[in-house]
């Protein structure tokens, strides 16, 4: 069986990002999974146990003192070197901000095709087949990369639930340097410190989102309270983001995150087509809006025409009583 590379993202301090499990699982469906990771000199060994736990058969560590100071170029060089050494049939990355930039450049550098934002992968003989979910899930499209080079695939974060079996990986360490003049330089990293206990929006099984109908940043706390009562992630409409109630990273929709949870609760959201594009594949949709004609009701399994400030507190209380 040929190799399939999974590119593992890390934080500035070297911790493995939570997309790793999904990516190694995706790679294991396409070949022998090799985790490729960039690390500061001497820190790579520490990652082996964790990546083996997630199913990597081999760990390819590219060590460089440019880790954390040069944007994406070391990661690109690492994948280029691993690809030359292992001749993989596929290279799988997260469809994250960094993942996209690395994948795009790598596809041009290796002169191979690119399949982006896929929600599943499978091998059909030697051919990598990727599934896309398009226009908010209105269409499912399958696509392949014919030809010799490895298929480069970016996987939507949280889209693949399967996990690979634990392995005891072999280790390859390679040292790399890139020409900093041809890359962007990182001046400062501000990793968000506000780590909450709430589930992450991407891949969440329950999401409670709030819109302009909440009226203020202070009132938006109601959305968070319901989210906590349901153990859900917090989302928002673009209008709520533009009004400053929540950061852009919470935006659901066309130009925000696409979610596909078991339960999606929309509070004070009208249901503009661009918002629906990010949530309409949810299993069950609940909407509370005081306008009976709001378009969100067209796709809601349970709609309440009412005021969020009276319905939601009652719901939270009822949920509390059931526990």
């Amino acid at each position: 069986m040929s190799h399939a590379l999974a590119f593992i993202e890390t934080s500035a301090s070297g911790e493995v990002r939570n997309t790793a499990a999904m990516l190694i699982a995706a790679a294991s469906k396409l070949g022998t999974p090799v985790a490729v990771v960039v690390a500061a000199p001497g820190t790579g060994d520490a990652l082996i146990a964790e990546l083996g736990e997630l199913g990597a058969a081999q760990v390819y560590v590219a060590e460089t003192d440019q880790f954390g100071s040069v944007l994406v170029a070391p990661q690109l060089a690492a994948l280029e070197a691993a690809s030359a050494a292992l001749q993989p049939s596929a290279i799988v990355l997260a469809h994250s901000i960094d993942g996209r930039e690395i994948a795009g450049r790598l596809a041009v550098r290796l002169r191979t095709g690119l399949l982006v934002d896929v929600v599943d992968v499978r091998a059909d003989g030697d051919v990598v087949v990727a599934t896309h979910s398009v226009f908010g899930g209105a269409y499912t499209v399958e696509a392949t990369v014919p030809g010799a080079g490895p298929a480069i695939v970016t996987v939507r974060q949280g889209a693949i639930d399967a996990r690979a079996e634990t392995a005891s990986p072999t280790l390859t360490t390679q040292s790399i340097t890139v020409d900093p003049a041809s890359a962007a330089v990182i001046d400062e990293v501000h990793d968000a410190v506000v780590a909450t206990d709430r589930p992450e929006l991407r891949g969440a099984t329950r999401v409670v989102s709030g819109g302009r109908g909440l009226g203020s940043q202070a009132n938006f706390a109601l959305v968070e309270q319901l989210a906590d009562a349901l153990g859900a992630a917090v989302g928002a409409s673009r209008a709520a983001v533009d009004a400053g109630y929540v950061p852009q990273t919470s935006q659901v929709g066309q130009t925000g995150i696409t979610v596909s949870p078991q339960l999606y609760v929309a509070l004070g959201i009208s249901g503009a087509i661009q918002h629906r594009a990010g949530m309409q594949t949810a299993k069950t949709i609940v909407a509370i809006n005081k306008d009976a004609d709001a378009p969100i009701f067209d796709i809601a399994d349970f709609g309440i025409v009412g005021d969020v400030f009276t319905v939601v507190p009652q719901l939270i209380e009822a949920l509390g009583k059931r526990e």
């Binding site: 990369v145 349970f302 059931r322």
Partner: protein, 256 residues
């Protein structure tokens, strides 16, 4: 400073957007075609710089003949000239072809800075700017929320899933900007009149020295299926008990 702004024509997100289930391609006849909102913001970033400094702003688009409207709008907003890459052989181009063609046009035109949208609202790949930078052999900084210009370099704040990073790169470079970057200006009457006299050149693949095959690897769509539309379920009007009813609905569906 010569800034090339990439503008894409896309189906209006306010309409129903459809794929041709036989080819997996966008059915462009099914909805109104407009300039992508994100590319108006990219153009705005360039125009704000030009408002205060000496700069030449060129709008570049690849697409069918209707793209002229998008370029006219860019000129009316304030771009100095426009370039349209148009060739029947480009119909249904994938990411690799699109990036190769745009990069060839940028090279032919010459540039100090390329500004693109972070991701198009139709394809949503979010990779074209990085691919172009690789073709051009220059630094890229994608997904910038803010952009600062300095002599010979460009800097900004790039938001990712975990926080933000401050980054800079020397020129020439390629950047892409997010929704947070700028609110686009509206073209005024004077701008619209002036736009009619500004140059709008059309280039074919032959003009770019590319033949219609083999210059880029390819992807192939093998199947396209449409999901049945969602329908409305139960809708109640709150008469004082809706919160409790919703709790029951959630419990019945094992959602709590």
């Amino acid at each position: 400073m010569k800034i090339i702004v990439l503008v894409k024509q896309v189906p209006d997100t306010w309409g129903e957007r459809t794929l041709d289930t036989a080819t997996g391609r966008l059915d462009r006849s099914a909805s109104d075609a407009v300039i992508d909102e994100i590319d108006e913001r990219a153009l705005e970033v360039a125009l704000q710089y030009k408002d205060g400094q000496d700069a030449e702003v060129v709008a570049l688009s690849m697409g069918p003949s209707t793209v002229t409207e998008v370029l006219r709008k860019s000129l009316a907003m304030g771009a100095d000239s426009a370039l349209h890459v148009r060739d029947d052989a480009l119909l249904g181009s994938d990411l690799s072809r699109t990036a190769a063609v745009l990069a060839a046009a940028i090279t032919k035109s010459g540039f100090d800075l390329v500004i693109a949208g972070n991701e198009a609202t139709d394809g949503r790949g979010g990779v074209i700017p990085a691919m172009i930078a690789e073709h051009l052999g220059v630094p890229s900084m994608t997904y910038l929320d803010t952009v600062e210009f300095a002599p010979g370099s460009i800097s900004g704040v790039r938001g990712d899933e975990h926080g933000t990073v401050s980054v800079h790169a020397s020129l020439p470079a390629v950047i892409s900007v997010t929704e947070a970057s700028a609110e686009a200006r509206f073209p005024n009457f004077k701008g619209i009149m002036k736009a009619k006299k500004k140059p709008l050149d059309v280039w074919t693949l032959a003009d770019l020295g590319l033949d219609d095959s083999g210059f880029a690897p390819s992807t192939v769509v093998t199947s396209t299926t449409e999901r049945p539309a969602r329908t409305a379920g139960k809708k109640i009007v709150d008469e004082g008990n809706a919160g409790n009813e919703l709790a029951e609905f959630l419990a019945a569906g094992r959602l709590i």
